[in-house]
């Protein structure tokens, strides 16, 4: 085990996979000479050269399409979106082309591509640069969608994403790049896509949360423990395919569920998780499933409004108390 940042873990995953498989290459804006807008690709141009670390002009649809065309014919591209907000310019390529190619071709042309980059609320970046982007992708059959919360997950899941034969949307977080954690050294360490993890065991309520919200839920759990409420936290890690089994299993044990998501709540990830918990574990529930979501508003710039928009530890604590039928202090 080595302690490294989330950013370093991603970098290591890319390097290991590029050494393992000559068909893997990285393409995107500022990935080479600039070494990545967020330095995830630091040192890669020097190590692998411009044939495999490909700087592009600002043309998201164009270079996403280049990745898909290369993937159709046998390469394994890792396409970096400088931020996932820009991936909307390539949404047609991802949704209409990458996701559906294997199906429309009757299984002839699969697309082994990873589209990765940071997404989600950041600090005072305002409406166009601070938003949860996974919602635009996890609805689509044919895509896999990953949101890794820890350095070890970042490494293990990115390696699995690169080895996967399907298009994988891999959304990191600007706010997590600098966090540190233990990461296995083994270059064959991978984490299968579609497996949730119980981050914290508890008996009274299951909180489902990922990325920054998972850390807030952990803080909430520590506070609630002092109040005598035992919180179990499940991190889905992969949003599609979703590990419903682990989540439902946890709810069957605790009989209560709170789903936390950073994005606006309307038709969000929390809606889907709440729905399958209710469908599959209704008789096990002692209270309705609660959602704690971002406000249904664009992200404002002003610091005070930004805080109002985003789920906080306090909001999570309140929701847990409600499902546990405990009045707040």
């Amino acid at each position: 085990m080595a302690v490294m940042t989330y950013r370093e873990a991603l970098n290591l995953a890319l390097r290991e996979e590029m050494h393992r498989d000559p068909k893997v290459f990285v393409i995107g804006e500022e990935v080479g000479l600039y070494e990545g807008a967020y330095k995830v690709t630091q040192g890669l141009l020097k190590e692998f050269g411009p044939r495999r670390i490909v700087d592009t002009p600002i043309a998201e649809s164009g270079f996403a399409g280049v990745g898909i065309g290369a993937a159709m014919t046998g390469l394994r591209p890792v396409v970096e979106m400088m931020t996932f907000n820009f991936a909307l310019l390539a949404l047609d390529q991802i949704v209409n082309t990458a996701a559906k190619m294997n199906y429309m071709s009757g299984g002839q042309y699969n697309i082994p591509i990873v589209v990765r980059g940071p997404g989600g609320p950041a600090h005072q970046l305002a409406a166009q640069h601070s938003q949860s982007m996974e919602v635009y992708f996890y609805h689509v059959p044919g895509l896999k969608v990953v949101r890794p919360s820890t350095p070890a997950d970042a490494k293990g899941l990115l390696k699995s994403a690169i080895r996967d034969d399907n298009p994988v949307i891999f959304i990191e977080s600007e706010t997590l790049y600098a966090i540190k954690g233990e990461v296995p050294d083994d270059p064959e360490f991978t984490i299968p896509l579609g497996e949730a993890i119980v981050r914290r065991e508890g008996t009274d309520v299951t909180v489902i949360a990922y990325m920054g919200m998972m850390y807030r839920a952990m803080e909430a759990a520590e506070q609630l423990e002092k109040e005598g409420i035992s919180v179990e936290i499940v991190d889905p890690r992969t949003l599609r395919p979703m590990d419903e089994r682990t989540i439902v299993g946890s709810v069957r044990k605790t009989h209560r569920a709170v789903v936390v998501e950073a994005g606006a709540g309307f038709a969000g990830m929390g809606s889907e998780i709440s729905a399958f918990i209710t469908e599959r574990a209704f008789d096990d529930l002692d209270a309705p499933v609660e959602r704690v979501t971002g406000a249904n508003a664009p992200m404002p710039y002003a610091r005070n409004l930004e805080k109002l928009k985003t789920p906080t530890k306090e909001k999570i604590v309140d929701a847990v108390r409600r499902v546990c039928n405990v009045n707040g202090s």
Binding site: F25, R51, T56, P57, A59, S61, G62, F63, A64, G65, V66, G67, I68, G69, A70, A71, M72, T73, G74, L75, D92, Q93, N96, T97, M101, N102, Y103, M104, S105, G106, G107, Q108, Y109, N110, P141, G142, K144, D165, N166
Partner: protein, 333 residues
């Protein structure tokens, strides 16, 4: 001074075998689409059906310069490109019928013909979306040090799309062996060139992006063949991309839902263009030059009719895809 146009002999290098091949290819595509239209009217084919009748010279002429291991990628008006690349007409027709023996097991339909066995990378039905893919195929060829080329067919309707410009820019910037073939049939659905483009001389966009480009008579299969030959040589030699603007015309409507295709163009215009039918032009030229005989032409016609009759029978006899096909191929395991 010798007359340049009357009874011009087929271009150098076009012997009887090549002439037969070109005529056979064009007539096969024509017959395939005529029969597809019939079966659409009978309700055997559904959805959108876009015919390329009138445009066959492009597919036949371009493909005559390709190797089996070269790639081709296209739009939703791609029956001809797919057949010319070498696909089995039976499996292509079965795909239009939505049957299990179709190229995509009936899950793609007319707009999404794919055939990996002949490197045909599909029919793509979001206008402009496959041009960057073609650049990606060129990228792959270069990445692996190959000498194949990728031909990318698209209509004039794709030219105002951003992806046309992104793909041309990237292909030129990175020197990718892609041959962009614009089938300029003068109408994007019902919108004429003049109503869509500030620059209607489409080949000139190649100059903007430092790509060799030329306009070519899209009704003249030999002219297409020659221009493609130059483009393929450049691409194989030093990965230079090319933009060809094939000036052609679609005799039918945009799709079977636009049968007359006459709201946005005059009947006189259509009738006038039909006088330049690429099949008739080439047939007369080849027969006139003595490269093909009338008997050759009759034999080709019979062969083509037999092939397509067989394709329709095959498609009609093929079962519908079983219910479990709904959930297969969403992901590759």
């Amino acid at each position: 001074m010798a007359q340049k146009t009357a009874k011009a002999a087929p271009a150098p290098g076009v012997d009887a075998a090549m002439a037969k091949k070109l005529l056979h290819e064009m007539m096969l595509i024509r017959r395939f689409e005529e029969k597809a239209a019939e079966n659409y009217a009978l309700g055997k084919i559904g959805g959108f059906l876009h015919l390329s009748i009138g445009e066959e010279a492009v597919a036949a002429g371009v493909t005559s310069q390709l190797r089996q291991d070269d790639y081709a990628i296209s739009t939703y008006r791609e029956h001809g490109h797919c057949l010319a690349k070498g696909s089995d007409p039976r499996r292509a027709m079965a795909e239009l019928f939505g049957r299990i023996d179709g190229l995509s097991k009936g899950k793609g339909g007319s707009m999404h013909l794919f055939d990996k066995s002949v490197n045909f990378l599909g029919g793509h039905a979001i206008v402009g979306s496959h041009l960057p893919l073609a650049a990606g195929v060129g990228f792959k060829i270069k990445y692996e040090g190959g000498d194949q080329v990728c031909v990318c067919y698209f209509g004039d309707g794709a030219v105002p799309e951003g992806e046309f410009h992104e793909a041309l820019n990237l292909s030129s910037l990175w020197k990718l062996p892609v041959i962009f073939v614009c089938e300029n049939n003068r109408y994007a659905m019902g919108t004429s060139l003049e109503r869509a483009l500030a620059q209607t001389e489409i080949y000139k966009f190649g100059q903007t992006y430092n790509i060799p480009s030329e306009p070519v008579d899209g009704m003249d299969v030999l002219a297409i063949r020659e221009a493609t030959g130059r483009a393929v040589a450049r691409a194989r030699k030093d990965k230079t991309p090319t933009l060809l603007e094939a000036r052609t015309y679609r005799f039918r409507g945009h799709s079977m839902r636009d049968p007359a295709g006459a709201v946005y163009r005059t009947k006189e215009e259509v009738e006038k263009e039909k006088l330049r039918d690429p099949i008739v032009l080439f047939r007369d030229r080849a027969v006139g030059a003595g490269v093909l005989s009338d008997e050759d032409v009759e034999a080709i016609e019979k062969d083509v009719n037999d092939i397509i009759d067989d394709a329709v029978a095959f498609a009609d006899a093929s079962p519908e895809p079983p219910a479990e096909e709904l959930f297969t191929d969403i992901y590759k395991d």
